[in-house]
């Protein structure tokens, strides 16, 4: 049977990892949203070089593993003389990686609003910013939210990559507890439970949101 004492005896260690996992996820979430929005704007920009940069970023980053992105920060930067901690490398890597998916979701949302609407709004005398704010974005958001919330759930799960780089997250501390107690199975069951505490409510909320948007749209 599951040995509850493993969890209660190492409660502090588990919580430290849990807190750092949340912390890294929140930083990477905010960062990837900001970066992803910028890249999305680049991708639909009418300036060609910007569009190339945006497209190259999305196509390249989306098609390489997250682990490789973090390696670039963790092994690549030190060879150029910059050394960052595992936590920073993991979180920044997560941000850079997720931004490509966020950018793609936002772009798809904006493109889903027919261009005739933009033209009509512009012809009615609205400025470009007004068109975006009052016509395009309110409609795009409904399309964007479901894929975006899925990306953020993936982000929380992907934050476990920090464990590979001694990033003091839940995965890392779980490993510490396992090597102390030798009860690997039980230790990881509690790690799994803590991840589910984060991801299941998020998944449920995402589903509800999606249903509500579908009904109102």
């Amino acid at each position: 049977m599951l040995d509850i004492s493993i969890f209660t005896d190492h409660f502090g260690i588990y919580m430290k990892g849990f807190g750092n996992t949340i912390w890294a996820s929140v930083i990477a979430l905010l960062g990837s949203f900001a970066l992803g929005t910028i890249i999305a704007v680049f991708r639909i920009s009418s300036v060609k070089p910007l569009r190339w940069v945006g497209t190259a970023y999305v196509e390249f980053i989306r098609n390489i593993p997250l682990l490789l992105v973090v390696f670039v920060f963790y092994l690549g930067l030190p060879s150029l003389g910059v050394t960052l901690s595992g936590f920073v490398c993991g979180t920044v890597g997560l941000m850079v990686y997720t931004a490509s998916f966020v950018a793609e979701a936002i772009r798809a949302g904006i493109m889903s609003v027919p261009s005739g609407q933009t033209e009509a709004a512009r012809a009615s005398g609205l400025t470009y910013m007004q068109t975006m704010r009052h016509v395009v974005l309110p409609q795009a958001i409904k399309i964007v939210i479901p894929p975006l919330s899925n990306q953020f759930i993936n982000l929380v799960k992907n934050s476990s990559i920090l464990g590979v780089f001694a990033g003091f997250d839940l995965m890392y501390y779980g490993d510490q507890v396992a090597s102390k107690t030798y009860a690997t199975f039980d230790t990881y069951i509690f790690v799994a439970a803590l991840y589910l505490v984060l991801t299941l409510p998020l998944s449920f909320a995402a589903l509800q949101l999606e249903r509500r948007l579908a009904k109102n749209g």
Partner: protein, 216 residues
């Protein structure tokens, strides 16, 4: 930076061997997860009492866990409860179970997206439930599922890199060993590895896009 040193004959062979393992593991896991995911997804769609509910709970649990943790389970934790697997099998089982849960959800929602009216019409025309699923729901649902399933395969190929934590000698693992020889190899090797992953995944995503345009 030492490009010539990094790309020496032995290093390249070693990295290509890793790439071979990556592709092989991905291929086996893709086949297994596709079969397992399609079956569980269809069973969930058919709302068979008890079976569908149990599968639903299992799929939701697995889908919401990090793959890294699942690999830890298959390799480090399962021997604890009497199930010992080698590195290769652990990686394949872990990947297949996780991706099957993802594919199961794609299949279930793809089938559910077929309007209920069609099922009712088919049933009232005298088709049995199995005939309805087989002739009406599956052919249409399958078309909608192909693009997300291909992107799931791309994720799977990228996710094989996580097997580095159980020392599977795949692409990332081998490139890390080459980098450990000499600090100056870091950037050329990372660039090469990125290009290898990119070429395969980009080809897959182009194929998915073509299918999407053809069937969309």
């Amino acid at each position: 930076m030492d490009i010539a040193g990094a790309f020496s004959y032995h290093n390249l062979i070693f990295i290509m061997k890793g790439f071979g393992i990556t592709l092989w593991i991905a291929f086996v896991a893709i086949v297994l997860s596709f079969v397992l995911g399609s079956v569980t997804g269809t069973l969930r769609y058919m709302r068979i009492p008890v079976v569908s509910q149990i599968l639903g709970v299992l799929v939701e649990f697995i889908r919401n866990l990090p793959l890294l943790l699942i690999l830890f389970f298959t390799y480090f934790a399962m021997p604890d409860v009497g199930l010992k697997l080698g590195v290769m099998s652990s990686a394949i089982v872990g990947l297949a179970v996780f991706e099957a849960a993802m594919i199961s959800e794609i299949v279930r929602s793809g089938l559910s997206s077929i309007p209920k009216g069609q099922v009712e019409a088919a049933r009232s025309s005298g088709l049995t439930y199995m005939q309805t699923v087989w002739h009406i729901v599956l052919p249409q649902g399958l078309r909608r599922m192909v693009p997300p399933i291909v992107s799931q395969f791309i994720s799977l190929l990228k996710d094989t890199s996580l097997a580095i934590v159980i020392s599977l000698p795949e692409l990332m693992h081998n490139s890390k060993i080459v980098i450990a020889q000499d600090f100056n190899y870091t950037l050329p090797i990372l660039a090469l590895v990125a290009i290898l992953y990119f070429v395969v995944n980009y080809a897959l995503s182009l194929a998915a896009r073509r299918l999407e345009n053809k069937w969309g």
